[in-house]
Symmetry: C2
Subunit: 332 residues, 2 copies
Amino acid sequence: MNQIILLKNRPDGKPQLSDFEFTKEEKPQPQDGEVLLKSKYVSVDPYLRGRMRDVASYIDPFELNEPLQSNIIAEVVTSNNSNFNEGDFVNGMLKWKEFQVSDGKGLNKVDGDKASLSAYLGILGLTGLTAHISLDKIADLKKGETLLVSGASGAVGSTVGQIGKIKGCRVVGIAGSDEKLTLMKDKFGFDEGINYKTTKNMNEAVAKACPNGVDVYYDNVGGEILDAAMNNINKNGRVINCGAISLYNETGPQTGPRYEGIFVKKTVLMQGFLVRDHVKEFGPATQQLLEWLNDGKLTYSETIVDGFENIPQAFLDLFEGKNKGKMVVQIY
Amino acid sequence: MNQIILLKNRPDGKPQLSDFEFTKEEKPQPQDGEVLLKSKYVSVDPYLRGRMRDVASYIDPFELNEPLQSNIIAEVVTSNNSNFNEGDFVNGMLKWKEFQVSDGKGLNKVDGDKASLSAYLGILGLTGLTAHISLDKIADLKKGETLLVSGASGAVGSTVGQIGKIKGCRVVGIAGSDEKLTLMKDKFGFDEGINYKTTKNMNEAVAKACPNGVDVYYDNVGGEILDAAMNNINKNGRVINCGAISLYNETGPQTGPRYEGIFVKKTVLMQGFLVRDHVKEFGPATQQLLEWLNDGKLTYSETIVDGFENIPQAFLDLFEGKNKGKMVVQIY
């Protein structure tokens, strides 16, 4: 029998384990042209929360009582498709099932010799691509500028900070524990860190950590941390909106300070970024990331949780900040 | 004797006549290398409100008990400078004085045969340049897109709308009276208008006037009209922050809805614009504007107030929306 995870309820506010349902089906059989895939590494990501709402967005909502989906590294266990051999590993937007069949569309082979398989969900996957392409398209980082990053010990944030160092910037990270701050500085080479959970006045903390102001703010969280960045933004500052995890579980309208005056006075540029809009750049961007990785200029951390049955809990833990770097569930 | 207008008080909230003081001095005498200028057309602009605050900004604050300044078209009445002849007209950032001397720095000659002198304060001056350069740099208007403009019957807004029509866009304007809406449509060729003062639900009004959503929102006002635009923004929408007149007289912090989620989902770009950052483009941009003007593709309206003594009231009237197009004070 084949295990599956369905969306049982659309969460109201913070998702809970009871919003997910485990069920079983007959193990599927691949037809002509199809492959049978066994899930090996499942990516859990904050943006999936958005797909649990029944609203139009950049990606279709999940259906109730249907399997959830995310990026998964799977092994080809049976192949009736000449493009794939048994034993190949592929990366694709796949269902939360132990086994599933695919006609091969949208699957990309990954090479476990060049990097670890889970890296293709993180530093060499959408998170690494997000960091690199968004900085390249929007930030235009210049040597000596100050780059402020929120969610800085996370998968995207830690890559953003390291690219900032490669470009010669002063890099300041914001995260939610002293342990994460240590990780940022010792492992990822950030110059300075701010623990937002123990900081009373974020405006002052950002001003102190960024004595020359903020040239680029890379926002993964939104809310009051964005406010503090805007209050310290420099003339011609750039803000990349990559995520707003602080608001994802909010149910009502959110309010905050108006920024219109700052936009005009400081000629600020703010731009939202979705990596899926930039598929054409994935090839060269992945090559660049792999090169930096092999040169030792980039490193990454990941939190690997064991077992298919723990996928929902791993997802919930994202909103508690329990991951360090990319959160991945490994299935044996 | 020479009349002067000084800043007497820094306004608290909305400026008042009592914040200005009229005084007199001896008529100045030009020295070697200097010219004596007589003010002919004085530009009054919302951004001057910002210079009345004692805070660092993109331009120095006005000093208390010193003359205010703005763009002025002046006549050279005496010249001890070989670059200028008596009878020349010049445009410069000059003091609110009937007569003043200048060493010629920062003065640009203007040709009253090519366009009316007051046009050099509007459609051929900073307002026209603001509209043209900001659209060119930030909006990248495409044929068939929907351009929404606030302050649409004003000097910048009416030029923005006309450039939108030149580029083949559907252009919708927001203004504060039915008379202004008629002006927008009949004189400037806007496709549709919204009177924000008689509209209860701006979100719905924008949705109705922009059935294909808003691709580019040109913001001159900020506040709740910006909110309505953001609620109707399309994927890859662009917002130009050119001004925020609705907030300029506010004394406390302003709050409004948070846009982080919209920025990410719709990959919105928002950018503040100050025309003074783009001086290098003034030459070709002025040529383009003059060409459109002479081809009949651009037109403009102006509210001309008579008399040096009415400069402060003309400035105050900007915040009541009493001007149609560029507000200029003519001095005989």
